[in-house]
């Protein structure tokens, strides 16, 4: 075994090459966020001063707060709607077309969705603000939740709900006592995914937001327009780590529960 492995070692080169390609920009970003100097491309020494400056910047803190509000609210709405949609798709209909339609918003171009939403809000005379961003984020996040929950429902035996009915439970009771607990891992994964998607979503937020309530990605964007400051590197690093952490938790959650 060992011999074969060492012989074919060079075959792993493309793997490492691909990983390098994927992670080099991110590594540079993280590395530079600890740069002492404010010159964006020269390394002068290790420092965490930019992380300190982040916390003292009111714009960034407001942006962060807005983003949190949007992400939490959008996640809650997306999980509720997405789950209901997935259960409906899995248990109450048989049309493959409907299923495709329900899942499409997840792969819709952001820009198209953003323009569509903006047009809709304008036509409805709906004042743009955090609530319109929440609605918009909930919309595309719901499609992801639907996809994940739908997949989970596919795995679990549909006779579980019938068994609950047979044992005297109502349809609503069976949903809360049987369906919901068995899709819990998918709900958690869907919620975490929605949260991360909303957290760093830019295009849709940019189009559907009002001027007075920028979310964090919008704040970052407006800062970058005047040049990349090391502060941005630090901020981007934090956003990146948060997203990565949440995705890891989501995946672990799905895997571990599936083994049981």
């Amino acid at each position: 075994m060992k011999k074969v492995g060492s012989k074919l070692g060079w075959l792993k080169l493309p793997l490492y090459g691909a990983l390098l390609f994927l992670y080099l920009p991110i590594a540079v970003l993280i590395f530079m966020s600890f740069n002492e100097s404010d010159a964006p491309f020269t390394w002068t020494g290790f420092s965490t001063r930019w992380y300190g400056e982040l916390i003292s910047s009111p714009e960034i803190l407001t942006g962060f707060r807005n983003t949190l509000i949007v992400a939490i609210a959008a996640t809650i709405i997306a999980v509720v709607l997405g789950t209901l949609l997935a259960v409906g798709l899995a248990r109450y209909q048989r049309s493959a077309a409907l299923e495709a339609i329900a899942l499409t918003p997840a792969i819709f171009p952001d820009l198209a969705l953003a323009i569509g939403l903006l047009t809709l809000f304008t036509n409805l005379n709906y004042a743009l603000g955090l609530d319109s961003v929440i609605i918009s984020h909930a919309l595309f996040c719901a499609a992801f939740v639907t996809a994940i929950v739908r997949g989970r429902l596919h795995q679990i035996d549909s006779s579980l709900e019938q068994a609950a009915a047979d044992l005297g439970d109502t349809a609503v009771g069976a949903f809360f006592r049987i369906t919901l607990p068995s899709i819990k891992p998918a709900l958690i994964a869907g919620a975490l995914l929605s949260f991360t998607l909303s957290l760093d979503e830019f295009v849709i937020a940019f189009f559907t937001n009002g001027p007075s309530t920028p979310t964090l990605p919008i704040v970052i964007y407006s800062m970058v327009r005047f040049g990349v400051s090391p502060e941005i590197n630090a901020l981007a690093t934090l956003v990146l780590l948060t997203s990565a952490l949440i995705i890891i938790i989501a995946q672990r959650n799905l895997k571990v529960k599936d083994q049981i």
Partner: protein, 344 residues
């Protein structure tokens, strides 16, 4: 007198496909009844219709003179044990069994008492805090059974309850089911495609094919007097010889075989049903043929003899009388034992 459970003119189609065709059936109280048939014969659809999990297009189901079809599944005094067992994976064995009682809103100590009692009956009381994924196939099956039976239904429906178990556990569970049925005094309706299982376990069997009941009888009756060729073919090992009735005999592939009195008119096509154990080997017989092979089954051996018919004739033989393969065997039987069925 009206029956305990009566099914009248029940019909169910899935689009073009007929699942149940104008089916009528009566089942007595405390009966162990089996719905037997090949896959796709409508037996599972019928069972699910009884449970309320499947709607029907036409017909009536009455339990103790009460209309069952107008009740939703969760209000019927009927419980189903699912083929997949459908145990709730996130609940313990105890919670699974107590589930139905909790929905009835019974007092807590009564739930605890009845649940523990049933778990003791299926000898799973010491496993009560386990989750279903920690159980063996036989244990899961017993949890499913306990969960259905604890509600004290008027009828317990069992959908292929033993199909997922291996052969040894299966025969143990067959005994267990029979014992439980006696103890609980509940009517059992079991769906199976395994004729041996139905024969060994049920008081009466309804053999179904293509949405219709072909014959309802006790296992012995069905074995001895199959009503049609399909029944004769489905129940047990059989030799089915297709031929024509003449005035005094039965012509198969140019050979004349003796027959007893028959209602069937002379000249009509018929099937002669001969059980392997009804045929004896001797120095002379009605037909003769070469022994092609013999299959050893422990207590008895099944011989395959080529008599020039379109099929090999199966004959049961005791172990120490098995002839050498290749020898010529002479077959005879009591013509009164053989059944003649019309072949339409």
């Amino acid at each position: 007198m009206s029956a305990f459970l009566s099914i009248e003119n029940l019909s169910k189609n899935y689009g073009q496909q007929i699942a149940i065709k104008n089916l009528s059936l009566e089942i007595a109280e405390n009966e162990f009844f089996a719905l037997l048939g090949p896959s796709g014969c409508g037996k599972t659809t019928l069972l699910r219709a009884l449970a309320g999990l499947e709607s029907v297009d036409a017909g009536e189901i009455r339990l103790q003179n009460q209309d069952l079809l107008s009740l939703p599944a969760n209000k019927r005094p009927v419980n189903l044990m699912f083929q997949s067992y459908a145990l709730f994976p996130h609940l313990t064995v105890y919670e699974n069994v107590a589930y139905g009682l909790r929905r009835e809103g019974l007092p807590k100590d009564e739930i605890a008492e009845r649940t523990s009692k049933v778990l003791r009956t299926v000898s799973l009381l010491d496993q009560k805090n386990r989750s279903p994924s920690q159980l063996s196939g036989g244990q899961k099956q017993r949890v499913a059974l306990a969960r259905a039976i604890v509600k004290r239904p008027k009828i317990l429906l069992l959908d292929e309850p033993l199909s997922a178990l291996d052969k040894k556990v299966r025969s143990e569970m067959q005994l267990e089911l029979k014992r439980l049925q006696h103890e609980a005094g509940i009517t059992f309706i079991l769906v199976t495609h395994d004729q041996e299982e139905a024969m060994s376990i049920a008081d009466r069997i309804a053999l179904m094919d293509q949405g219709e009941v072909i014959q309802v009888a006790t296992p012995v009756e069905m074995y001895r007097a199959p009503k049609t060729k399909f029944v004769a073919d489905f129940i047990g090992e059989n030799n089915l010889l297709t031929g024509q009735i003449t005035t005094s005999s039965f012509m198969v592939a140019g050979k004349s075989l003796p027959i007893a009195n028959t209602q069937l008119p002379s000249g009509s096509n018929a099937v002669l049903v001969l059980r392997p154990e009804q045929i004896t080997l001797g120095v002379s017989g009605f037909v003769a043929g070469k022994l092609i092979s013999s299959n050893f089954y422990g207590g008895s051996t099944l011989l395959f003899i080529d008599c020039g018919f379109d099929q090999l004739i199966k004959v049961t033989c005791v172990l120490d009388q098995v002839p050498v393969v290749g020898t010529t065997c002479h077959l005879s039987w009591n013509p009164a034992d053989a059944t003649l069925l019309s072949d339409g």
